[in-house]
Symmetry: C2
Subunit: 321 residues, 2 copies
C-alpha cells in the first residue's frame, strides 16, 4: 500500500503543478529534492511571483525510521518504527478576490519494533517487526479574502460528490471536522470556509470494538478520489477570480487576513508545529506562509462592507450544500 500511495501522490504532484503552471502562464515551479538524515526525503515544488500565483508550494515526502518521541507521546505508544508519506499544498494567489487553498493527503504505517528495539537508521528499514497500524488522513479547505457564495458552494459540492461516491455519511462528518480543526481559537473565527478534514482512516480490525471501518483498499480509493477532485474544486474558482480588478484597499485587506492564516499555522496547526518541533525540513513546512502579510492594530472592517460579510461567515461556519 505504501508504494502504491506514494506512486499516486508523485503522479498527483505532477498533475497539479502542471495545471497550476498552465493557469499562471508565466511562473514555473522550482523543484528541491531533499533527504531526511534519519530516513527518507521529499520533493518540494514552489512557485513564486507568478502572474496569478504570488506564492505556492506543492510538496511530497516519504519518510521513515524510528518514531520520534513526540509522536510516541501523541499516539500513546512506546518505541516503534514508522513510515509516512503525503502531499501537502498551499496556494496563495495574488488577486485578493481569488482564495488561498490548502490540501493534504497522507498515509501512515507504524510497526512493532524488531527485537532489540526500533531501528535507528535507514538500513534497518523495513523493520523486522510486523505492521501494527496503518491509516490515511487529509483534506482540503478554502480561505477566501472576499466571500463569493457560489465559490464556497462549488468547493463544497465537489468535495461532497467525491465523498458521496464512497459513503453518504462522509461529507457531513468530514466537513464538520474541517470546521473544528481550522478554528483560529484565539480569534474566535474559522481560518476559512472549510472543506474536508479526516484522519485515522483505519481498517475495521484496527478500530475499537463496535466501530465500523473499511478495508485499506477502500480507504485508498476514497482518499485518491478526494485527491483527484482537488483541481475540479479549486481551478474553476481561481480562473473566475484571478483577473478581477482590485484596489490597494482590497490588497491591504488580503494581507491583513493572511496574518490570520499565519497565526493559525504557527499557533494552532498540529502538522506545522509537529514539523517545527521534530526537525522537519523547515523551508518545506513554512512554504505555507503567505508572501506579503500585514498586522494592523485592532483592525475591524466597516459595517456593511464586503470585508465584514466575510468575517461574519468565519465567525459562524455555515453549510454550503
Amino acid at each position: 500500500m505504501k508504494n502504491k500511495f506514494y506512486q499516486y501522490i508523485q503522479d498527483l504532484q505532477n498533475t497539479i503543478t502542471s495545471k497550476l503552471e498552465e493557469i499562471d502562464g508565466e511562473a514555473k515551479f522550482r523543484e528541491d529534492l531533499w533527504e531526511r538524515p534519519e530516513g527518507g526525503g521529499g520533493r518540494t515544488r514552489v512557485i513564486e511571483n507568478g502572474k496569478v500565483f504570488e506564492k505556492g508550494g506543492v510538496n511530497i515526502s516519504a519518510v521513515h525510521g524510528k518514531l520520534p518521541d513526540t509522536m510516541q507521546k501523541m499516539f500513546g505508544v512506546d518505541e516503534a518504527d514508522f513510515f509516512a508519506c503525503g502531499l501537502s499544498l498551499v496556494i496563495h494567489p495574488k488577486n485578493p478576490f481569488a482564495p488561498t487553498v490548502h490540501a493534504n493527503w497522507r498515509y501512515f504505517e507504524m510497526y512493532s519494533p524488531p527485537k532489540g528495539g526500533g531501528s535507528k537508521n535507514e538500513k534497518n528499514f523495513p523493520p523486522s517487526g510486523g505492521l501494527r497500524r496503518a491509516w490515511f488522513g487529509g483534506g482540503q479547505d478554502l480561505t477566501p479574502y472576499y466571500l463569493f457564495e457560489e465559490d464556497a458552494k462549488h468547493f463544497h459540492q465537489v468535495s461532497k460528490a467525491a465523498c458521496d461516491k464512497h459513503d453518504s455519511k462522509f461529507y457531513p462528518e468530514y466537513k464538520k471536522k474541517c470546521d473544528e480543526y481550522f478554528w483560529n481559537a484565539h480569534r474566535n473565527e474559522a481560518r476559512g470556509i472549510g472543506g474536508l478534514f479526516f484522519d485515522y482512516l483505519k481498517a475495521t480490525e484496527d478500530l475499537p470494538a463496535g466501530r465500523q471501518g473499511k478495508s485499506m483498499e477502500d480507504w485508498y480509493n476514497f482518499v485518491t478520489e478526494v485527491g483527484d477532485s482537488f483541481l475540479d474544486a479549486y481551478v474553476p474558482i481561481v480562473e473566475k477570480r484571478k483577473d478581477i480588478p482590485y484596489t490597494d484597499q482590497n490588497r491591504k485587506w488580503q494581507e491583513i487576513r493572511r496574518g490570520r492564516y499565519v497565526e493559525f499555522n504557527l499557533v494552532h496547526d498540529k502538522g506545522t508545529l509537529f514539523g517545527l518541533k521534530t526537525n522537519g525540513r523547515i523551508e518545506s513546512i513554512l512554504m505555507s506562509l503567505p508572501p506579503h502579510v500585514q498586522w494592523v492594530y485592532d483592525h475591524h472592517p466597516e459595517t456593511g462592507s464586503e470585508e465584514e460579510k466575510l468575517t461574519k461567515v468565519l465567525q459562524h461556519p455555515k453549510d454550503w450544500v
Copy 2:
C-alpha cells in the same frame, strides 16, 4: 509592593510614550483602556504609521483573580489567587537600519486560596488567604536587521551598567538567559542580539534552601533601575539610524527578518502563547507583530553581504561588552 510597582509602570509608560512621540515627531500613541472580565485590566498604547515608528505598543496591565488552570500547571500549584502587573513594549521602526526593540518588566503575587476555594471574581479580591509567593521578572532585547556593532555594544553596556549597580553577577547571568530564551529553535538562530532576561526574582525565604536571594525591596530597586535604563539603551540607537537612506532591497530584508520575529513570537514565546491560550486581550498581545512582513521560500543572504553578517551573529550569539 504591588501598588508601588504598578504606580512605577504607569509613570514609566508615560515617560516612554512621551519620548517616543517626541522622536517620531508626527504620530501619536492611541490609548485603549480595557477591562478583564475575571478581574483587572490595562492601558494599551499603540503608535502606527509614524515618520520613525511604523508600529509599536507600550502596554501596561494589572490583572488578578483565580489562577487559571494553565498557570496552575505551569507553577505546579493547586487552586490559588493571583495578582500580576507589568509593562510590555515592542517598537518596530520603519527604517531597516533602526532595530526593533522589546522590553517587559513585571511583578507577580500568588496567594493561598481562602477557605472554601479561590475567589472566582473581583469581589473576592484581595483574597482572605495570605501571600504565598511574589516575584519580579522581565528584560529587554534588541533585534537589528543590519548589524552595527557599536549599537549592540551600547545596548548591552547600558543594560550591564544598570545590573552592575546591584550585583556584578547579574549581567552575565541575565545576558545568557536572554540568549537562551530568545532562541528561534526551528531556525537555529537567535531572534536578535539579546540583552537581559530574568524571572522568578524572589525573596530569599521563598527560594530553595541554599539559594541566595534579595529582599523584594532590593528586587524592586533592581527592576526599576533596568526599566529606567531602557530609554538610555534604545533612544541613541534609533536616533542614529532613523534617517539613513535605504533601498527596496534593505526594506525587503527587513520584512523577511520580521517574519522570523513573528515565528518566534507565535511558536516559542511563552508570554504570547500564554496570553492567547488564556483568553488575554488579543489585540494587546499581538501588537508585538510587525506591520509589514514577508515570507520568501528558502531565502539566503548573499555571501559576504551585510545581511549575511547579521545572520552569522544570530547563529552564534556573542559577548558585546
